[in-house]
Symmetry: D2
């Protein structure tokens, strides 16, 4: 039984507490938050859990095996570092850290401490995303031509990071997990509509060492919520609409055929192929539950998390590059 | 009765012939195309229309008042110039020309000849787009924060121009007409998945002299067709989904409120407001019919077209800049 | 080359004229309508076609091989009978006749004259419906449990027949063609909201000699258009949404499993199975074009139409029974 | 502080426990269920709550003010009667009872005991339904012409009652609350696809003392979930799609105009009007939370519940009539 302490009981913390309470193999023994009203809420739901406004109490608590960090990104590094130093395993909210440098230091620390460091890229534990990876790795889509995601909604504006750190971070994790391709350069643009606030609208193009291109459209000021990714392959294509109650993944047996016959030197002949569409079933377990079980398994059996520090760091590096590119109005930033 | 000659009876030509045949005030007297099988088709539908494989016959035909050009973009300049020189009014398919220089020369020619030059930016004549303009000009949306359009489908790949010239051209015309804002710079990215072919996927960000940003996502290799534009204003926001059979325009009384009270120096307080949604009725006349009637009106009454040469040229200038930016992987091109 | 005369150039007649003009194997030589303005329209589109306000001229025209009747249902019998007596093949709009008795007499006449009698149940010639029949006949769905259709929109109110004769007629034809099951009894309800007018809202339940049930919901007073049929089978189920631009047919590998183990005497254990969904491609030729070609083929090669008089009569018998049941507020009418 | 005991911790019980735990004004002190594993689950979530397999313990517990009954319908009468006799207020799951006779006896008992009897017709407490009632009562829709609901999904098959008692019950409550119209007769049809089980597909038509008609389509064997009601009025019409994440209610300024001019004795002239669509905002509080607060308010302030015994009884009477009509294949049953 892994004993868990959770730092931060704001927007996401309650989901973490609920899942680590409900799965077998772990129990939540302590919750900290700076706001006493949040602790009151935690207490009303989990009367047996200890609560404190001082996270140090939690980090130094010898009863606790693992610390879950669900606080603003600027605090991730210090909290995770202290927890690792105290010998705790760490699950840290995404993005892993505010800078790539901080991320590298955490990875190093975790390795030297021989502690598990898992970054909460929840999408990687979603049945739909696992199914997409499975299809791509089995070659169903052929060569991947593009990944194009729109992820927009109204709010929640953040004060310390721009919208890419809040929303594009999901696509970066999905891309890393599903395609395993290395981003070589980024061009991004964006704007802020609230003065002195970070960009609330942003567009990123990612380049790779292949004919793959990725594009991510994120926006905190949209009248409607959209969660739509198109993945184009040379054989088949996927539409991933995360807001559909069912049939989130649709696979289209659709594409082009290129006919380069001798007499077509001056003319590329392109044919179009549209075939059946297929929506496969997949595991609909709550992603965070699967992640909680995976974290416990990694701790108990010394496994490497699917969303380990290295992956978290790769994501942060792209976010840093994108933020820099936005400031320079689309300038290509090489990674 | 304006007598019309149509050059090009391929994909779009038949729609032009049909509309100029059916509206009162014009009749189609001649159609030319290089392919005799296309002329056979035109003849079977319109037995009274003259057909020819030689467009010169049509341009020099003294019976003809106006020439409609529905051929590949690379031929627009020469055909339009010849028609103007022969004293004909000209309706030319979008994009107006292959280069801004050609566009400027056509404008100049038309002015000196005192002939009407109308660029077929059909969307400008669509009831939905007119309604959007009306709402924006009445101040319903407040200050416009962004225009974000996704316009993707499978095919038709073109050989001479990239996907922005085929699809983004529509959004550039809508932006010009609806917002009347001047594009100051462009950053664009894209890729081609067929060797030696133009880019079939592209992403453009447009900058303006204000806090407006525009983004256009175009793709010839999408498994599904999407025609979705979000227009965010400080008061209200619009979702324009052109594929909906009804309710193409939805207006959301949704947005943010920014509270800059003295004690919020370190914290911007943003509130969210979601209210009613409203889908107004609008004129559902076929856009091309409205455009045909407008062209006739401009000829008969010496009016300036809503989509005149200047507008066509502004669009071409952005397309040129975007194409240049794509080649330089997102580099900002100032207009 | 089959020479066609078309009686009635109102709502549907233009579609028939267009298709019989465009397919190879037939030409439209004459159109009649009581309204001269409709004939003017026909003339403007087809300058070579003869027009007349007197359908007798058309029926007695020796040049004409086949008469297409697109007039109100109350006139079908007389017009079709006259045409058959004049030795013409007949394509008659659905429903075939206003009464079953009239239908039986037409069938008899056509047989004795050895002329083709085709009822224009257009849906039977639609690629989607043919695909559904193919799937059901191949046993893909298992035993069919139910057919449940909603077919509602605003207008067009008819003066002589209730909404079942206008809208449910389509489902009755689809059911007849796709399932080939004999309706044994009908219970129907409905109401009229315009005084002295026929019912504009109606609901029909059809019973069969099996555990199949069919239900049809039709309405001329709906704010939105719906064309949705669910077909439940013991193995798989189909959703047929005719308003979708693509993916009109979706096949769900979904259902229940019944476990009647000894200890379940007092408890039926029902399990639920939800699997993949699959949207097959099918022929997207315009149904009326396929029907026109089929009519020509039947005439030329002495074939029996897929929608022959017997089928048309079966549909009329159900409509008569439903109309009677509606008047008696759901009373079961046995066929 | 109202002390609540909950009988039944199956499918719906947990939602009741959660809401009565979280609202201010009540606390859940005891939960009973026949299955000890369900009690274990309750205990793990609410460690302070007493649990028992014997509901008598709970009913006779002097600490308890009100009993909430979330058990199969056949047990409702006995449990509610015992609770009332023990002086408890009662909230009973819908449908209120298995027969109208039982319902009448409960109402009588509650009146004589002066105890609150609330039937859990949750939809009545939903913001969307309250908004629809408000619009109709304000005359926005004009005279109501029809209510047409489709409520289908896969499962959960029940063993003791047919699908109307499980699904149509919601529409009957909505109709009663929103329109306040008295059902005068019912014609219903249905079928069971599992031998010896109740009907899993059913269709009901309800008649009223006006030109209103209502129709309810319910099905436990549908491949897709549908929750769609159309409400047609003489002025406007509503589409209520409960599965939409937002814009559940759409109001269409659409309808017909009837022109009975003198010369139209032989012809009813019907015009069609399609105007704007409008999706109003409404309160999105969880309906069960609003219901829990209402129950507490009724107890504390002696108010009559919006879903009192009389309403519950009216619904049961229609369900009884529909079940009888189904057995007689659509025969009209007068209420």
């Amino acid at each position: 039984m892994i004993k868990i302490g959770v730092i931060g009981y704001g927007y996401w913390g309650p989901n973490l507490v609920r899942n680590f309470s409900e799965v077998s193999g772990s129990s939540v023994v302590s919750v900290s938050d700076l706001r006493s009203e949040r602790l009151d809420l935690a207490k009303s739901r989990y009367p047996m859990v200890k609560t404190t406004t001082d996270h140090q109490e939690l980090i130094t608590d010898p009863e606790i095996d693992a610390v879950v960090i669900a606080t603003p990104v600027s605090t991730h590094f210090n909290l995770a570092m202290q927890a690792l130093e105290a010998g705790k395993h760490v699950l840290v909210e995404k993005p892993m850290t505010a800078t790539a440098d901080e991320g590298a230091r955490l990875i190093d620390k975790a390795q030297r401490c021989k502690r598990v460091l898992l970054v909460d890229h929840t999408f990687v534990y979603m049945g739909a995303v696992r199914k997409i990876r499975e299809l791509i790795q089995a070659g169903e889509l052929g060569e991947i031509h593009y990944y194009d995601s729109t992820r927009v909604n109204l709010g929640l504006f953040q004060h310390d990071v721009n919208v890419t750190w809040d929303l594009a971070v999901h696509d970066l994790a999905i891309l890393d997990y599903v395609l395993g391709a290395k981003v070589t350069a980024v061009s991004a643009t964006g704007i802020n509509h609230v003065s002195n606030a970070p960009e609330n609208v942003a567009y990123m193009t990612l380049f790779f060492d292949s004919s793959l291109i990725a594009h991510i459209n994120v926006n905190w000021l949209s009248p409607v919520k959209v969660r739509l990714a198109l993945i184009g392959g040379s054989k088949k294509m996927i539409v991933f609409d995360d807001l559909q109650p069912s049939e989130k993944i649709k696979i289209y047996d659709t594409g082009i055929t290129v006919n380069n016959t001798p007499d077509s030197i001056y003319e590329i002949r392109i044919g179009y192929r549209t075939g059946d569409m297929w929506a496969p079933r997949f595991d609909t377990t709550e992603a965070l539950r699967a992640e909680a079980l995976h974290f416990i398994d990694c701790i108990e059996n010394g496994r490497e998390p699917d969303t380990n520090g290295e992956m978290g760091l790769r994501v942060v590096r792209v976010l840093e590059a994108a933020t820099k590119s936005i400031r320079e109005k689309g300038k290509l930033i090489t990674l």
